[in-house]
């Protein structure tokens, strides 16, 4: 057992998990694309051991599997940035909703006062 086999196994399990989550509507198709792309990339570079080793020596990395970690790490950064962008947008939308509701409720209360 070496890191390449482990990462092939992991990629396959991972891809199946993603598809299952989308199927059950637990994950939006829109967001799943990024994960599927990441799963396939991981699978391809895990299968292609020679390619990884060549690329590693080209980049002067002595321990080739470290390249896998590097890819994984960089992907995580991109994904986390993407998530904070989504959160920023969501919090702006939640704020707008909160404000609109407060104004609507206030108007409804004063409207009821006029009737009574």
């Amino acid at each position: 057992m070496n890191v390449y086999i482990l990462s092939v196994m992991f990629s396959i399990v991972f891809l199946v998990m993603i598809i299952e989550l989308v199927r059950r509507r637990r994950l939006k198709e829109q967001y799943s694309l990024l994960w599927i792309l990441m799963g396939f990339t991981l699978l391809i570079i895990s299968v292609n051991v020679q390619g990884v080793e060549r690329l590693a020596s080209f980049l002067q990395i002595e321990y080739a599997p470290a390249l896998l970690f590097l890819f994984g790490l960089l992907f995580c950064f991109v994904l986390i940035l993407h998530l904070t962008l989504v959160i920023t947008k969501l919090s702006a939308q939640v704020l707008r909703l909160t404000q609109e509701i407060a104004i609507m409720k206030g108007e409804k209360a004063s409207h009821n006062e006029h009737i009574h």
């Binding site: 704020l95 909160t98 404000q99 407060a102 104004i103 409720k105 206030g106 004063s110």
Partner: protein, 233 residues
Amino acid sequence: MLKVLVIIPAYNEESSVPYVIQDIRNHMPSADILVVNDGSRDRTAQVAMEAGAKVLTLPFNVGIGGGMQTGYMYAKKHGYDVAVQMDADGQHAAADLPRLLSKVRDCDLVIGSRFLEKTSYKSSVMRKVGITFFSRLVSLVTRQRFTDTTSGFRAAGAKVIDLYAEYYPMDYPEVESIVYLTRKHCRLMEVKAEMRARETGKSSITPLKSAYYMVKVTLSVLMSAVRYREGKA
């Protein structure tokens, strides 16, 4: 006759809010008063209503920026000519309101400043350093002299009400909003205003929060300065 709305953002201010409302009614009986109750857990909403103010209650605390903006959204929706913002803790004196309002025809935003002329206001050294820093920074970025950029005592005309209803800075909005407005070609002006010592409650500012405030607001000011290029509307 200008249609004036006084907006008071309040978070757990049940003890001071009735006095603030009474103070405004004594000096400006024609103005409408709107308390934006920002998810308070005390009786702020009830006491404000009993004192004769209109109350909007946010279902949870959204912070000073989100609360203020709710007030400006309301002012826009109901066609007010002028919206005045005032703190709920009683530090701003309603006696200064006529002076702010007398200038709001000449420009888009009037800021009540503690430092334009000598007033009785006293502050700690650290606070003074912060206030001076932001006044210098904003004066530099806007090329207009400001003495009290952190003041939350302001009168906004219709143009500013519209702009604030669309975009209002969050967290610590006072300083950044000045830069935002100058970049949107609004005319801003300071007038002298007294600031009283706090009557009740405690300031929520701690040393750590102050440091975070300084860094965050500086970044916001610089971002506002580059986001809206000068010379473009």
